[in-house]
Amino acid sequence: MFNQKRNLKYPSLFLICFFISTALFLNSCGRFILKDEGVENKSIEELSGVSSAKTNIDGLNTTISEITQTVGSDGLLAGFFVVPEDGVSFLLSIFLGSNYNIKFYSLTDPDGTDILSASSTPNLYNEASGRLGNSGYANVLVPQSPSFSAKAGTWTFKAYSNNRISMALRTGSTPSAATIAIQPYITGTDWSASDISVALIIMKRIYSKNGITLTINDTITISDTQYAAVSGTFTDSTTSALVTQGSTAAVNLFFIEDYPPPPSIWSGILGNAAGIPGSMGIANSWNGVLISLTAHVSGSTLDAQLLGETAAHEMGHQLGLFHTTEKWGTEFDIISDTAECAKSSRDNNDDGLVSAEECDGYGANNVMFWRPWTTSSQSAGKKQETLSSHQQHVLKYSPLAK
């Protein structure tokens, strides 16, 4: 009897224990029983296209994850990812270990629109580095203008040969304001953190006037002499070693002593960003901007206003803003509410360029205008400190903002 009872009782206990332990096991693996045919018993990671654990960026609602790709019959690598209902923005990045050209073929939103196709409206066909192609690294930012949004649902992509694709995905409530962390670095021994403090305050004021709060971390000094003068090419080994030191939770501003002289094309520039946008949230060669200190010296002191404007300008590029008007006055940014300064009507001296002076009242005061005011105009009080409402939108939705 006892034995009979035990024989009846133990199978039930065994079954209960089996179901509980199985449920716990599946739960720990992130597996859930799903009703949809075809997705049954798949992990959340598999269902979202994500192949690795997500990494949270400190202090932000942004996660970094790698995305699985498979080779299609057309020879292209393909994959997908899911943007949740509370998705705010994402930066999809593609990498190749060497400096070969790298790019996406398509990026299709949940409604079936390929936003990288020339035939879609709107599109980033001729705008995103992820479609145009770039050396070793390229990306697509959504939104790069208010015409785009990180729509909830499944996005699919196709890409040419690459090593990996990662995504910085920001979630949360719709942003009405933004705070962005800034990490300044200074290289060489000619200048110290205190020398750039006024310029950083000016940059902070410029963004504050435009509804963006900057949290500026303490400047980090990198005194290794090899980083005093570095190339503006982010794949250069020395530049790469410098920029890779950047924070993953901030826009990294590298105030370098100088760029290399000619024949380097960087010799005469004030600053440059790693891309439009650059990388966000990942420590790599494209995670920051370079700004030449020596180029901003007048007499023996730094021109703080111009340096602050250059830092603000390069940071704008790094977060995805284009020049509002390009030098020839024939190309303009993808943002609809920025003033355009057309060569046809504004090139008063007929030199083929549109200067800030010629574009006074036509966008020359925008942070992202292609050219600063001449030194004489600056002396007369001219500044570049405004961002349009749509430019602010891009910054407020940035994966690096909160």
């Binding site: 090899q226 002593e257 100088d258 024949p263 010799s267 005469g268 010296v297 200067s355 600063p372 001449t374």
Partner: protein, 167 residues
């Protein structure tokens, strides 16, 4: 009639050789911009005496450096004796960023016509106190005088400088 002819010839010659130097403002206009690249064609259109204006800008210590740097770069398009002397002086006596640009402009503007002059300057700059200037000179010597470049690599104490010089 003969004198009139001579006067005409003289006048014709004078108009032929005298090209007014461009305005400083006109030259400065071509040096402005945040992301700048040397516009060869526009500078050449300014005429021969542009070197004088560029030397004035390059040597003006009250100007912001990016304009002076660009002026030195543009000087390579006007290879006169004045230009060569100015660039040599700045390569040896000025602060490092200007010194490097002075040397590079001399190299670019005069290597074809006066290679020994460029080489003599490079040899002197191999001993410059600033590492970046030494790198610029060493890169030139690498293709110009391999034995001297090897000597430089042996004597250079900073390993990163040796590495950069070989890039």
């Amino acid at each position: 009639m003969k004198y009139l002819f001579i006067i005409c010839i003289l006048f014709w010659n004078l108009t032929g050789i005298t090209v007014a130097a461009p305005d400083k403002a006109q030259v400065m206009e071509l040096l402005e911009g945040r992301h700048w690249k040397l516009d060869v064609e526009s500078f050449q259109l300014l005429g021969d005496d542009t070197d004088k204006v560029l030397i004035e800008i390059g040597g003006d210590t009250s100007l912001i450096n990016y304009l002076r740097f660009r002026a030195l770069d543009a000087l390579s398009l006007f290879p006169t004796e004045n230009t060569a002397s100015f660039l040599e002086l700045y390569a040896e006596k000025s602060f490092a960023p200007l010194a490097r640009r002075g040397f590079e402009a001399l190299k670019k503007g005069f290597y074809k016509t006066q290679p020994q002059r460029v080489k003599r300057l490079a040899v002197r700059l191999l001993k410059h106190h600033n590492a970046q200037v030494r790198i610029s000179a060493a890169r030139f010597m690498r293709s110009e005088d391999a034995p001297r470049f090897k000597l430089f690599l042996k004597s250079e104490s900073d390993s990163w400088v040796r590495k950069e010089a070989q890039k």
